[in-house]
Amino acid sequence: MLAYTIRRLLVAIPLLIVSTFVVFLLVTFSGDPLANLRTKQPPPSPQVIANYRHMLRLDQPVLVRYWHWVTGLLHGDFGPSVQGGGTLDIGHALFQRILVSLRLVIAAIIIAMILAVIVGTISAVRQYSIADYVFTFTGFLFLSLPVFWFALLLKEGAIWLNNHIGTGFKTLGESSPIVGPGFGSHLVDALEHLVLPTITLALTAYAAWSRFNRSSMLEVLGSDYVRLARAKGLSRSRVLIRHALRTALIPFVTVTALDIAALLSQTIITETVFQWRGMGDFLFTAIRALDVYAVLAWLLFAAIIVIVANLIADLLYAVLDPRIRYD
């Protein structure tokens, strides 16, 4: 399995090169990075524009620019930025934003998976019961709600509650501007800010995953080996957990691992609604500023996440299913 992992990581290199090249071309030909500068009032002097042109290497051919960018990446240099008067360190800034977003994504994934396993299992074991119908209804409800709308609904609802009942939901940002001293109060503050965005993201992911776990469980519950497990005289809980759920988790885990990449895009929307200074905000700001190298850095990270999520899905598949062996 170690050999397989290394092999997969090696395969990821050409994959990354191809994806960076395609992304570089797409970003390069999507517009003039200096358009904002040219339309500025009062107009900057031709010398300023020429300086920026040179800084962004626009005076060089595309392939040379790509080569400069890729070799720069190897040295940890993500390229020049037009933001902050040309002083923004893209790598450092993006890293800070990733840490912020990761809190949200990880919390949401954990909650969504636990909820999906519990609810999917109950729905399958008690198929066509009232609980199953309630879970099915709410599942499809969350599945059909657009994330931005659901996030807004939660936010406005929380604000209403704050104003009328006096609850203290934090609806803006990932942390408060002024926090009491000590690590403890910072942690509490961060957790309080996590509540609403996490609910948004977790329920959105949970909706699809619980449906998947339900059907996966239903299939396994009707299988011959679950019947044999019962025929052996095992307790009901042992049949359900050790035989049914354990086997049903194989497709479930791989699907959720693959979904993590998709969850990123919903994170961006959620962050925007709750005005988090996370990856989503970084991307939007970069696009508005026509900051090509910042956008490229972000897309590079997204490509890595997709590749890693796929690798994790494949590896988990082998861990969970003894019939799968990579060697």
Binding site: S223, D224, A231, L234, S235, T247
Partner: protein, 371 residues
Amino acid sequence: MSGELVDGVVPPSVSNRANVLEVENLRVDFPTDDGLVRAVRGLSYTLAPREVLGIVGESGSGKSVASLAVMGLLPKNARVSGQVRFGDENLLGLSESALARYRGEHIAMIFQDPMTSLNPVYTVGWQIAEAIRAHRNVSQRAALEKAVELLRLVGIPQAADRVHNYPHEFSGGMRQRAVIACAIANDPDVIIADEPTTALDVTVQAQVLESLRIARERTGAAMILITHDLGVVAGQADRVLVMYAGKPVEVGTADDVFYRPRMPYTLGLLGSLPRLDVGGRRRLTPIQGSPPSLINLPPGCPFAPRCPMRQPICQQEEPELRPTDHPGHLAACHFSDSLVGVAPSDLFRPTARDDVLPEDAGDSAAPEVTA
């Protein structure tokens, strides 16, 4: 969670009783969108210690459903009534957890498809050890040692190594033997084998049947052998029960049923069987038509539409199991007396002719094809 001990309520010993298992008037209905499917319509039988009862019948005759009902393994929507007595207990009234004490420990089951009977994510040995630890308070190591012993008993070579294999590393025949090992892990009193060889190659069938025989002899268990293969039953069973449309239509010793059938359906089954023990070339005489739908069964004998002997009474009154000319041999046919000495070919006709073959070219007596 594992290794529940059978504490307190130990089921009474059955050694002093005449029968280990008594099934009485078992009925199983399934409500469906099209109506009530009456899968089993009153099945009664007894099983003596060490006895092998063969239950035969074609697909849909209710033989598998009846045995799943005995184990309490039917889907939740099944409506089961009647009695399944093991010792002094009626198993049909028991809760799932009470039933679990009987399953595996007193009544074990072997299913049709060995390819899907074992959980793919656990080793074969683990699954046998699990069966042991469900009823015995032993360590995992001791249970695995017992598993090796059981695998050896049912004829798995290199059992000590094979015990750590996953099911997908076993062939179909080996898997079925592993399931047999699982079934005898707790020395059950009754083994229900539901079509144990149907999904296997013919050459492997004989090996698995041999494993089954060894397992039965070693544990002293009685067995219900469900199959549609009369050849399997002939070699194994002491008594045979023939089912048709959810009801027993003939019960007797293996000799009774095979040599003195008193029900046209049994006769038809025998005529559909290639025989090597009878010399000469003879054509098979299959039963025409297909079994009736179990939704809204018309009155009368359910076999009547396919029966060459049918009379007006057959379409009005369903015959009950009645004694025949041999003691203990029962048949459900209005005209069972007139079947004395009748051969299958007297009643059923071949549906195909092979007189196109050169050596049969002169055989002008070949009967016409019946549509």
